[in-house]
């Protein structure tokens, strides 16, 4: 078996690949354990030249490649399919921080760096990366770029796309793509790197990028608000945006069911009030206001929100406790069987109608359905997850799931939303993409794919 790769392996270091079944298999399963594929070999290239050698070899021999980062992706994009002769290129050993420029606030990092490690290196300079995700301790910069990752700070800094100044990559034919600029303005024709951002490994292997980085301050205040209806949520959202604007670093939404679930299943902290919706707002003191809490209190006066059920954390300890409530929801959800997840986004003004109409349709379809609804409201991003108490066998479950997806996505479509807000398409949403994107748009995507990857060897079977 190995001789297929022998001529290639001779040119690499021993630590740059593994044929060990247990190691390879480990990298063939996705984080949620929903996608299990197979591969004969995994590569851990340490340099650009090694990557180039591997890709050129595969290009010549028509061997499909799966680029892999931290393998935390949630749509089955980072693992090989079963018995398709795919090889894995894992970037974890390409992990140098090439340059930190504290004058223009930019950093150039290789794609295998773990997000948290990059942040740790920036910490002494009081700087931070523009993104923050729950998976920050495992996900890699390359994976973040390839999925155009969102996360907690999008409301403040925008998604990854808004913060990338330059990209370097190896294209499917082994060509070196070098656009590692550090300038902020660059209007010189088509911006090809934008296509690589969010390409989920289908257009090439990202090897490095230059990011805009931001000032870090530890002084933050977290607030939790409890509201009767979604209408009230929008109202308070608007008030907060207009009076705290630049200070807002997160605006999260949780419905009552998701909150109760976390309390029931993992004993999350109880709050001194109850209502249909809860918002978590994080305000960060970017301009070193001396009495930040007082500043916030004085703004409350002008907001005319006198009798609102709202609590403000008095210390970092309470900040953390408040965040924990939000973070424990996905963990509680993981303990349930039969949860069907949706990561959708909708225009703010349509969210209320979307929730109302799709919930009604779902309940009509099956009255035992409950909805775990939370997400990054500030980015119009809802996790709208459906769970059901009934015991379902495999076949019934799969039919049930199909129907639920249909109901939800048809309302997402009706209300001008997106069927995948931040997690991407991968294998999970491939079929649905065809249904909810126009045929012309799919055609255009296919043409672009062909230009980059004429032999279709870069992450085939994903996205399109």
């Amino acid at each position: 078996m190995t001789n297929k790769y022998n001529s290639l392996l001779k040119t690499l270091k021993k630590t740059e690949y593994s044929l060990d079944k247990s190691i390879v298999n480990n990298h063939c399963v996705d984080w949620r354990g929903n996608y299990r594929g197979s591969s004969e070999i995994i590569f851990f290239p340490k340099s650009l030249t090694s990557i180039q050698k591997i890709v050129k070899f595969c290009f010549k021999k028509n061997i499909p490649i799966v680029p892999q980062g931290g393998n935390t992706g949630l749509v089955g994009g980072s693992v090989p399919r079963f018995n398709k002769g795919e090889i894995i290129i894992n970037l974890c050993k390409l992990n140098n921080i090439r340059e930190i420029d504290i004058v223009s606030n930019t950093i150039t990092v290789e794609s295998g760096c773990i997000l948290q490690n990059v942040n740790d290196r920036l910490e002494p300079h009081n700087l931070q990366m523009p993104i923050s995700l729950g998976s920050k301790g495992s996900c890699q910069i390359g994976g973040n770029i390839a999925t155009n990752a969102g996360g907690l700070n999008v409301i403040k800094f925008g998604s990854i796309r808004n913060n990338i100044l330059g990209i370097e990559a190896i294209l499917p034919n082994g060509e070196f793509y070098d656009d590692l600029k550090t300038v902020k303005k660059n209007n010189t024709g088509f911006d090809i790197k934008q296509l690589l951002i969010g390409s989920e490994g289908t257009l090439g292997i990202i090897t490095a990028a230059t990011f805009q980085i931001h000032k870090k301050t530890n002084d933050r205040v977290v607030i939790i608000i409890c509201l009767k209806s979604f209408n009230h949520v929008l109202n308070i959202y608007q008030k907060f945006i207009s009076s705290f604007g630049e200070f807002i670093t997160a605006f999260e939404l949780m419905n009552e069911f998701s909150m109760n679930l976390a309390q029931k299943l993992i004993g999350s902290m109880k709050l001194p009030f109850t209502g249909n919706y809860y918002c978590l707002v994080e305000l960060t003191n970017f301009i070193d206001i001396e009495n930040f809490s007082n500043f916030i209190y004085s703004k409350f006066e002008k907001l005319q929100i006198d009798n609102m059920q709202l609590i403000v954390a008095k210390s970092e300890n309470e900040n953390k406790n408040f965040w924990q409530i939000r973070e424990e929801i996905p963990l509680a959800e993981k303990l349930l069987e039969n949860v069907i997840q949706h990561d959708v986004s909708l225009p703010l003004n349509n969210i209320e109608n979307f929730i109302f109409e799709s919930s009604k349709a779902l309940k009509k379809f099956n009255p035992n359905i409950s909805i775990i609804n939370f997400g990054h409201l500030g980015d119009n991003n809802l996790h709208f997850n459906v769970c059901i108490d009934d015991k379902l066998n495999k076949k019934n479950y799969s039919n049930f799931k199909k129907k639920v997806n249909e109901i939800i996505f048809s309302f997402v479509n009706k209300f001008n939303g997106s069927i995948s807000a931040e997690h991407g398409i991968g294998q999970l949403r491939k079929d649905e993409l065809k249904r909810y994107k126009s045929a012309e748009e799919i055609k255009r995507m296919k043409k672009i794919k062909k230009i980059f990857d004429p032999k279709n060897i870069m992450n085939p079977g994903k996205v399109i």
């Binding site: 301050t217 210390s315 900040n319």
Partner: protein, 251 residues
């Protein structure tokens, strides 16, 4: 009864402390400041006693720079009635001098009890309560984990001592210092924050009190603990083996 509660503005418990390059102290610029956690417990206890109808007025006192007003405001948002700030220029004040300043306010306000944290988490002195009670020549109950006021106005205080609990009975006026398990401080809620904005804070200048605040302790050097090499946490045995093989190259 009337309670005087003392609160100190300190570097937040969760902030990673950085020593100044000249080793004269710790970095406080751009650092999150909060109420000393033990003082939060002191405020909560006073508010609880007020809710029980035992106390009818809570005065929240802080000694520190102008910015300590924020800390007092937090105490008022938890349920304190009015505040007093003894304003300094931000200089360090030894526990003995803190005791003398609190006594000054005590003499002015004649509260029945002074409740304060057993220590402040910045200098960890654990002296102020004890010094204060000897300056006032009154009863003290330190490390309190339970406080019960009896009908005859004596107070039963359960104290956390080595290897167990001790319950003592003291009479007023008295000094009580709080331990971690006494209670769980409440959140600052919007209606209380709004009410707190209307509450009065009196500001006294430390120089007007005629108290000698000369330091008797000199800080020679502040240094960081020796650095430890960071470890990594892996999710399961397989990834441990993977790391040992492929990253550490030891097996």
């Amino acid at each position: 009864m009337k309670a005087l509660v003392c609160v100190k503005r300190v570097i937040d418990y969760n902030v990673k402390i950085r020593v100044k390059t000249d080793k004269s102290g710790v970095e406080t610029e751009n650092v999150k400041m909060s109420m000393n956690p033990f003082d939060e417990i002191a405020v909560e206890e006073a508010v609880k006693l007020k809710e029980k109808g035992v106390i009818d007025e809570i005065i929240v006192l802080s000694i520190g720079a102008e910015t300590s007003q924020e800390t007092i405001r937090t105490g008022l948002a938890m349920g304190g009635d009015r505040g007093v700030l003894v304003k300094t220029n931000g200089q360090e004040i030894d526990p003995l001098n803190v005791g003398k300043i609190i006594k000054y306010i005590f003499d002015k306000e004649s509260p029945d009890m002074v409740i304060l944290g057993k220590q402040a988490i910045d200098d960890d002195c654990n002296q102020t309560g004890q010094i204060l009670s000897s300056l006032l020549d009154c009863h003290q109950a330190t490390f309190a984990s339970k406080v019960e006021v009896n009908d005859d106005k004596t107070i039963n205080v359960t104290r956390e001592v080595d290897g167990g609990l001790e319950t003592i009975k003291i009479s007023i006026p008295c000094v009580i210092t709080t331990d971690l398990r006494l209670n769980e401080p409440r959140y600052a809620s919007l209606p209380n924050i709004m009410k707190a904005k209307q509450k009065k804070i009196d500001i006294l200048d430390i120089n007007d009190l005629n108290i000698d605040i000369k330091r008797r302790v000199e800080t020679i050097e502040v240094s960081e603990p020796p650095e430890r090499k960071p470890g990594v946490i892996v999710n399961d045995v397989d990834s441990l083996i993977d790391k040992l093989k492929n990253e550490a190259n030891v097996i």
